[in-house]
Each structure stands twice: as structure tokens, then as C-alpha cells.
Symmetry: C2
């Protein structure tokens, strides 16, 4: 509801600008110049909603105090409050006043349609792009994590994240736990830029996976791969960690490619 909506009604997706309409030729300026995402308010809503949906904040958990969260997001408290209000109206969080109060997550992880209004509808090209991107960064993150000498609590965190995935009671919980595991692996890579990349890939992936039915068989296969990945990371075997993660991404990719344009 911001700009866009120029006079040509052709609804150009963000991605179409990467290719010259006339020739199929791509040139560097077309590809490199990326729009600096507009609207701070919407971006904040989107980021918080994504964080919640990805399980960065688990159910019932409290968000940091507004003043702190605002500073961390480099956003004024006003804007942050507006964003939180939007989330509240979407039923993702509830807020309580007073000491010990705050905003806490109430995420049922159901109703795949009731997501926050701005949940981005991605074009087919964007989805394929996200899958491709993920296929690059997630194996890279796994490889890096396996090269690190992990501390005891880090190893425990990884093991615990894996376990949470395996004992997830239903598909929705499994989805959240899966995101958390992948983000944990990315975090153990030690590289903030890698974490950022994986976060974006997971965010895009999440929207897609929420839209399809999940087969029990797929989950079992996926969990077996998770186990191998964690094993390889803990065992310090980067190449194996990467190889299995590649298989893992390819499996998801194959599953999703059939369902999009």
C-alpha cells in the first residue's frame, strides 16, 4: 500500500527488473542496484512476525522491553510500538502493562491463512530464487559450523535443538523446531552475515512450507538428515555436514518445485 501502483497497471514484481524486457540480456547495473527497502514500519512488522513464525521467540516467551528492542532494531520506540500493535491485532502477541509485564508471544502456529496481512506473497521466480539461495548458504553454514571448535554449551544447544525437532508433536511444531535448528546451525557458524542470509532463506521457505501439506514420510527423511548433519558438525566433519545439508535442501526443493509456477 505504499508506492508501487504506478500508472502502468502491470504489477511488476520486484524481480522482473533484473532482466531487460526486450533482450534477455542481463547487465551489471540491472542486477546489482537493489532497492533499499522502504517503509520502516512495515519492515519492522515483517521482521518481528517472521521472527515469531520462525520460532526465534518461542510461544509464551516475552519479547525484550520496548525501549531495548527498539534500540536493537534501530527503530524509534514509536514505530516499534505501532508494529507491535499490528502484531497484537493479528493475534500474534499480547501485551500487559506494569512491572513484570511486557509483550509475550501467543503463537498457535495454526491457521495458515490468518497470518499477518503483510505476509509477502512471493512470485514463482522469487520462490525459486529463495530455494536456490538456500541451497548455497545453508550448506555453507553447516560446513562452517563443523569447522568451529564448539564449546560445551554450544554443543548442548545443538543437540537440544535437534531433539526438539524429533519430538515435535505435530506438523506446526515441527516447522518451528526445524527453523530453530537451522538457525542454530547458522549461529554456530560464527558469522553474522551468514546468519542473516540463512534467516532470509528460512523466512522465504517458511511461507512456502506453510502452504503445502506435509507427509509423515518426508518428515522422517528430513529428521534422519538433521541427525546426520548435527552428527557431522559435532564430529568436526565439514565436508560431510555440507554434503548432507545439500541433500536436505535438495529434498525440500524438489518437494516445493512441483507446487509452484
Amino acid at each position: 500500500m505504499v508506492h508501487s501502483q504506478t500508472i502502468d497497471g502491470s504489477e511488476r514484481g520486484v524481480l522482473d527488473q533484473y532482466v531487460h524486457p526486450q533482450s534477455g540480456q542481463t547487465s551489471l547495473p540491472d542486477v546489482v542496484l537493489r532497492p533499499a527497502g522502504g517503509n520502516v514500519f512495515e519492515a519492522t512488522v515483517e521482521q518481528l512476525a517472521t521472527a515469531i513464525r520462525l520460532g526465534v521467540f518461542t510461544n509464551g516467551e516475552q519479547l525484550p522491553p520496548e525501549r531495548e528492542l527498539a534500540e536493537r532494531l534501530s527503530v524509534s520506540r514509536n514505530t516499534l510500538r505501532d508494529a507491535i500493535a499490528a502484531l497484537r491485532e493479528s493475534g500474534l502477541v499480547t501485551t500487559k502493562q506494569g512491572r513484570g509485564g511486557g509483550t509475550s508471544v501467543t503463537y498457535a502456529a495454526e491457521h495458515p491463512a490468518t497470518v499477518v496481512s503483510g505476509s509477502f506473497v512471493r512470485s514463482g521466480a522469487a520462490m525459486l530464487d529463495a530455494l536456490t539461495f538456500r541451497r548455497v548458504v545453508e550448506p555453507g553454514a553447516a560446513w562452517l559450523a563443523a569447522t568451529q571448535s564448539l564449546a560445551g554449551d554450544q554443543r548442548a544447544w545443538l543437540t537440544e535443538s535437534l531433539r526438539e525437532v524429533e519430538i515435535a508433536p505435530d506438523a506446526a511444531a515441527h516447522r518451528v523446531a526445524d527453523s530453530r535448528l537451522h538457525l542454530a546451525i547458522a549461529t554456530l557458524s560464527g558469522s553474522p552475515m551468514v546468519v542473516d542470509a540463512v534467516t532470509r532463506a528460512q523466512a522465504a521457505l517458511h511461507d512456502m512450507l506453510m502452504a503445502i501439506p506435509v507427509l509423515r514420510r518426508n518428515i522422517e527423511h528430513s529428521d534422519a538428515q538433521h541427525h546426520q548433519i548435527v552428527e557431522a558438525i559435532l564430529g568436526g566433519d565439514p565436508d560431510r555436514a555440507r554434503a548432507v545439508m545439500e541433500e536436505h535442501c535438495d529434498a525440500t526443493s524438489a518437494l516445493l518445485r512441483g507446487l509452484i509456477g
Copy 2:
């Protein structure tokens, strides 16, 4: 073990927030919540300056008309004009009025100190991060490019980019041509998100490489690797393309790691 720890006045850098000061423990909210870069004007200046320094716009070449460029960057023409004015005062571009006029690049690629004022001073941690990130995304991009069935003009573009690197007369020209080659490879991956990632990695890399003396021997070794990479991509050998690119990144990384914190 949530956050808290609000009131320490210790001038925390952007990256430090990824780790808890007290325990070395990292938690997802700390890692995932990323600030949404402020100041649109500065971001625009930085992006254009980077594009020029990376050779996205070659010397003498004209930038797109203001109205078009503004729309592509999702920035108002006012802001874009301010940014261009800043570049003009830094001597990176010149502007001419009237039909056939416009803003064109005048980039000598010398005076490593005269860079635009905002050229980001990255902390040691951020540099290591960038090197790590690059080590993940560039091999991934090369792998992807090698899996694509490239059209004739794409193959020609790649070959030409390689040649430009090899015939570069001096270190500065070599730097620009090198960036262009890497961005070309990323573009041929076909994934905008990958291009974006490589662009960010190259931007960070550029600032580092401009600060160190370059040895003839290093350039020769680098060019040999470039040749192998392009060969592997054109020959449709993804694994080899990735392997050589990894060596290539490792070489640069080793070169730079000695010179930073």
C-alpha cells in the same frame, strides 16, 4: 537467561551485540534481530559509490537518468540527487545538463585515501565476517553458474570479463576488473539473492584490498585461478568450479587475515 543487561554504556559496536557480554552464550533473538539500516541518503550514497568502485559502472559510462535510477533504487529523486551531488563533490562523477547530458563516471581508481567520506571503516570482526561470508557465497555462485546452460552471449560475457582481468594494465584496473568478473559469475548463477550476497561480499572485500599493497605474484596466481573457474563454468563442471573458487577465496583470505586484528 534472557537478555536484560540494559544499562552498560560501553559503546557497543554493531557486531558486539551478537554475543552476550557476560557469558559467551549466543541466543537466537540476539543473532537474528538485525537493525534496518537507517538514513536513506547515506545508504544511497554508499550504494552508488560502491557500484562505481566495483566497476558496475565503468569509467566514462553514464548512469541511468535520475528519474529512472531513483525508481530503481526505490528512492525519491530528491534524495537521489542529493546523493549524486555528494558523489560529484567527491569527484566520482560529473554531471552535464541538457539532452544527451546526464551523470557520468569519472573514476580514476587511484588515491585510496580520497574515497568518499562515508567509506565504511569496518571493525576487525566485521572484516573476518565478510571473508567468511564470501568463502560461502562465491563458491556457491560459481557452482550454480556451472550448472546453468548458458546462452552464447552469456558465455561471451564471461570470457570477455576474464580477459579484462588478465589484460588489466595496473593494480587499480585489475581490482575493478576482478570485481566485475566475480559479479558476472554471480549474475550467471541466475539467482538475484545470490547476486546480492556476492555484491555485499565484494563491497566489503574491496575496502580491504584497497588498503594493502598487491604483489605481482599474487595477481598471477589469482588470474590462473580465475581462468580455471571460468573454464569449469563454461565446461559445466560445478564441483570443480566451486573447488577452485574456494581456493581462490582462501588465498585472498589468507592474504588479508595477516593484516587485520
